[in-house]
Every structure is written in structure tokens, then in C-alpha cells.
């Protein structure tokens, strides 16, 4: 300690330099910490905009009662529809899916259709685009409690099923999503078994509202929305509308479905939108329409009761949720 008094004056930092150095250090700490905090926030905050880079699909006009299925409601913007996606193979963060699915290869593509059918075959992308396309604007209700209105382009699934001719013993249809861990590295954190599988009863699959969508907003599907072809079942929770389909199998029993296998107490095979049957962890009575701040009541069968309620006549929807 006593040595300190012997430091030659030439080695003592002049006060001015010392203060300058202190000022410099403080400024650096301010700047560094601010950048780090803001950067960390930015990593987790949503991305601003998504561009529609799809190619146009020509559609034919349909009678009004088929197209105006959510006509009185405001259609969601492309950025909302293509920037907020549940596609667990790419990310469990809905705002991240668009970026993570950017390089997903969807061409060439083929869908194997088989099982209990007279004419099993595979459809490649060109075959699928030969089906006469229509535009259908549907409400889309996610099991998580949010909803959108989406202008899909596609064709009724029944058209494809009629081509393969289901046998008289077929009662159900099973669907499978493309899965490749190399293209979907974050799927390891999805927490669900993959490939993603879904299913419908044959009469649900043949219903005119059930769509195989190849596009939205008049253009081919963005990867994050399930390119190149996905199912759309507007009266069921969104997870039933399986994305990027590669396999369709006709069966004579109820197929397993990803979410009901992962958590049978919370997700059933039917998963019809139903405001009277709550999810065990949250209410399904209301929903938040994307683009709106308040909530609105959820409609039975997502507002399509008139068209589909007869499919479930006599069933206890609390039991078969």
C-alpha cells in the first residue's frame, strides 16, 4: 500500500484523460446494453410484412351461395394470412414460419392416393392444377382462439376422390403431410410426432365445402400456408386442415390424427368448431379475429351449421369433440 506514494508523477493518468476514458467507457456501455436489449427484443418481435410471390391461378365463377360463405366479413390481408402460421415442421412461432419455410421445395410434388379405392394413383402437381379451380372465401378458426377470413383458391376434395373411386367399404380418409427433417430442421423442437397426419369421415371429405386448396388471393399458396396443396375444412378447427399433403388413403376405420394422438384429452378426431365445448385450458366461446382488437362470439360449426350440422345428427358433440 505504501508503494502507491512512490509512483512517479509521470505515470499518474492526468485527471482529464481519466475522465475522458470514463466518459468513453460509460458511453460504450450505454450503447452496447441498449443495442443488446433492443436486439434481443427484435429477435422475438414479429416481422413487418410478407410479399405475395405466388403465380396466378385462373378460376371459374361459382353460384353466389357457394362463394359468399363469409361475404359480409372483412377478408384478412395477405400479410396477416401469410405472416401468422401454425406449421410446426418449420417453427412453433407463428411469426417465424414464413421465413423458415422460404426455401421449402414444393416442385416437383406428388400426392399418392390409395387404400380402399378402385383406381389408386399418384397425382403430380400438373395433374392437381388441371382440376377446375374456384375461389372460396371461408372463415378460418384456430383451436387457439384466433380466426381469419381467407380467400382460398382450390377445388372440392370430392372431385379428386371421385376420380379414384372409393370402394363401398371405405368409411374414412387419412391424410399425411410431407416430412423431411433436412428441409425442416426445427421440426425436432415441435413436440409432436411427425409426419403430421389428419383424417376425416368419408361423408365429411365428400362434402362440397371441403376443399383441396392450391392457392389464396388468386395466386399459388405461399410455402408457410401449406404449398403446394392443402386441405381446407372450414367448419373444423384449423389443425384439421392439413398442409402440404403427400398422401391420401381411404380406410374402413377412423385414422389416427396428430393432435389427438399427442393429447387425446384436449383434441378429438372431429374437432368441429363448437363454442359450447371448451378446450380444457381455454374457452372456445369467443375468438379474436386477426385485425380486430376485441373478441367476437364463435359460431357453431364456424358459421357453417346450415351446411354441415346434418352430418352430426344424433351425435353427442361433447363426447365426440
Amino acid at each position: 500500500m505504501s508503494d502507491s506514494s512512490h509512483i512517479p508523477s509521470s505515470e499518474i493518468t492526468p485527471e482529464e484523460t481519466f475522465l475522458n476514458r470514463r466518459f468513453f467507457m460509460k458511453s460504450a456501455i450505454w450503447a452496447g446494453s441498449t443495442l443488446a436489449t433492443a436486439g434481443l427484443y427484435r429477435t422475438f418481435s414479429p416481422r413487418p410484412e410478407v410479399k405475395n410471390t405466388g403465380s396466378a391461378i385462373s378460376t371459374v365463377a361459382e353460384p353466389l351461395q357457394e362463394t359468399s360463405l363469409a361475404a359480409d366479413e372483412k377478408v384478412n390481408s395477405f400479410t396477416e394470412i401469410a405472416g401468422y402460421n401454425n406449421y410446426y415442421e418449420f417453427s412453433t412461432d407463428k411469426s417465424e414460419v414464413a421465413a423458415k419455410a422460404k426455401d421449402f421445395v414444393t416442385n416437383p410434388w406428388s400426392v399418392q392416393v390409395g387404400g380402399l379405392v378402385q383406381k389408386p394413383r399418384s397425382f403430380d402437381l400438373e395433374d392437381l392444377l388441371k382440376f377446375e379451380s374456384v375461389e372460396r372465401t371461408y372463415r378460418f378458426r384456430c383451436v387457439e382462439g384466433w380466426s381469419m377470413v381467407i380467400p382460398w383458391v382450390g377445388f372440392p376434395l370430392s372431385k379428386l376422390l371421385n376420380q379414384v373411386e372409393p370402394t363401398s367399404t371405405a368409411t374414412h380418409v387419412a391424410f399425411e403431410t410431407y416430412y423431411d427433417v433436412k428441409q425442416m430442421p426445427d421440426s425436432r423442437y415441435a413436440g409432436i410426432d411427425l409426419p403430421y397426419i389428419e383424417g376425416l369421415r368419408l361423408d365429411e371429405a365428400m362434402h362440397p365445402l371441403t376443399l383441396l386448396a392450391t392457392g389464396l388471393y388468386g395466386k399459388t399458396l405461399p410455402n408457410q400456408n401449406g404449398a403446394p396443396i392443402r386441405l381446407v375444412v372450414p367448419w373444423k378447427y384449423g389443425f384439421k386442415s392439413i398442409k402440404s399433403v403427400v398422401k391420401i388413403t381411404l380406410m374402413d376405420r377412423e385414422p389416427g390424427t396428430t393432435w389427438s394422438l399427442a393429447n387425446p384429452a384436449e383434441y378429438g378426431f372431429y374437432s368441429n368448431v363448437n363454442p359450447n365445448v371448451d378446450h380444457p385450458r381455454w374457452s372456445q366461446a369467443r375468438e379474436r379475429r386477426i385485425g380486430e382488437i376485441g373478441s367476437r362470439p364463435t359460431l357453431m360449426f364456424n358459421g357453417y351449421a346450415e351446411q354441415v350440422a346434418h352430418l352430426y345428427a344424433g351425435m353427442d358433440l361433447r363426447e365426440d369433440f
Partner: protein, 205 residues
């Protein structure tokens, strides 16, 4: 003045960086850039920020003991109050947008949904800690009793991580990340207390 003695600088630095996420959320909200579902983003980010600040308060003691950064102690109250601040914001978002201010439905919701019950319970435990965070209250309670009361932070943080873990649908990566940090922070305390007990024991017997 050396860095570690400049507590005014520390306070300004911590105060600003703690407030910054809230300012950025407000700025993004004003610019309409909170994504497709702003309510969900605000709910999740305020919840995560509550957990982050709870973890930071629990990090103070290990850093003091291991690195000798005793200057951190003076800023711990601020970190704790930020946890409370973001917890209040999280709760208000829930009341405003999940419950639509129908406060009578909250009781039923707490009863029906375990993760809401755990979240509410943890928040309720934060209230007495925020109230007793002033110097006057520390004096009034006495250091020992005050410290005992503020050990509730352990249970609050465990409750917070559990609350997060239960609500995610299947991907538990982030809750797991918080759980690991919490396990390290609480595990370190356990090891220290065992060591201390062993060190003291021979003298007692």
C-alpha cells in the same frame, strides 16, 4: 470513482434497459407492427419479461458470491420492481383482452384453468414483495424478517415457469430454457446452504 462504486450510473443503466422493451412494444404498437395478433404478442412478451426479471433478481446473489460483484445488490430492488411491472402489464392484458374486463369471470377462470390459477397465485405473492420494497418497510420489518419474506421470490419464479410450461401446446423449448436456468439458480442456493450447514455443524456439536 470506480465502475463498481458508481451506483447512480448502474441505476440509470438498469432503469433504461428495463424500460426499453416496454417502450419498444409501445412504439411497435403505435406503428401497427406487433404482427397479426398484437394481443397475443403483448401477452406473451410481458409474461416472458416478468420471468426474465425474476431470473435476474435471483442471479444477483450468485454473481455477488462468485464474481464479487457486490454493487449489484443495490440494483436488485429495481430488477424486482421491473418483474412486478411486467407482471402487472401481463395481468392487465389478460383482464382486458382475455376477459374483456368481465372481472366476475376471473374467479371461474382461475377455478377452471390450472395455469391461470398458478399464474394468479404467483402474481398475488409478488404484491407483498413490491409493497415491502421501500427502505422504510425494510426498516419496519427488520432485515431478517424482510429477507425471509422476500424468499417468496423462489416460489413466485417456480410458479411463473410452471405457468408458462402448461400453456404451450407442445413445443416446450422456451419454458424448458427458463426451467434449466431456475434449476441452476435454486440448485446453487441449495448447495450453498448445505455447505454452510455442514460448516457450522461441527462447531455446534
Amino acid at each position: 470513482m470506480t465502475f463498481s462504486a458508481d451506483s447512480r450510473f448502474h441505476r440509470q443503466l438498469f432503469f433504461f434497459n428495463g424500460l426499453l422493451p416496454a417502450l419498444l412494444i409501445l412504439l411497435d404498437g403505435w406503428r401497427g407492427r406487433l404482427g397479426a395478433n398484437p394481443v397475443e404478442f403483448i401477452t406473451r412478451s410481458t409474461g416472458v419479461l416478468t420471468l426474465v426479471f425474476l431470473m435476474l433478481t435471483l442471479l444477483v446473489t450468485p454473481l455477488r458470491k462468485i464474481c464479487g460483484w457486490n454493487w449489484l445488490l443495490k440494483q436488485r430492488r429495481l430488477l424486482g420492481l421491473y418483474a412486478f411491472f411486467y407482471g402487472v402489464a401481463h395481468l392487465l392484458t389478460y383482464l382486458a383482452y382475455d376477459r374483456d374486463w368481465q372481472l366476475q369471470t376471473v374467479v371461474g377462470d382461475v377455478y377452471k384453468r390450472p395455469f391461470i390459477a398458478i399464474g394468479m397465485f404467483s402474481f398475488a405473492l409478488m404484491v407483498p414483495l413490491a409493497v415491502t420494497s421501500t427502505n422504510a418497510m425494510i426498516k419496519k420489518l427488520g432485515g431478517q424478517r424482510w429477507a425471509q419474506l422476500h424468499r417468496l421470490t423462489y416460489y413466485i419464479t417456480i410458479g411463473g415457469v410452471l405457468h408458462y410450461w402448461i400453456i404451450v401446446k407442445s413445443d416446450v423449448t422456451y419454458p424448458f430454457f427458463f426451467a434449466v436456468i431456475l434449476a441452476v439458480l435454486l440448485g446453487w442456493r441449495l448447495v450453498m446452504s448445505i455447505k454452510k450447514a455442514r460448516g457450522v455443524a461441527p462447531r455446534v456439536s
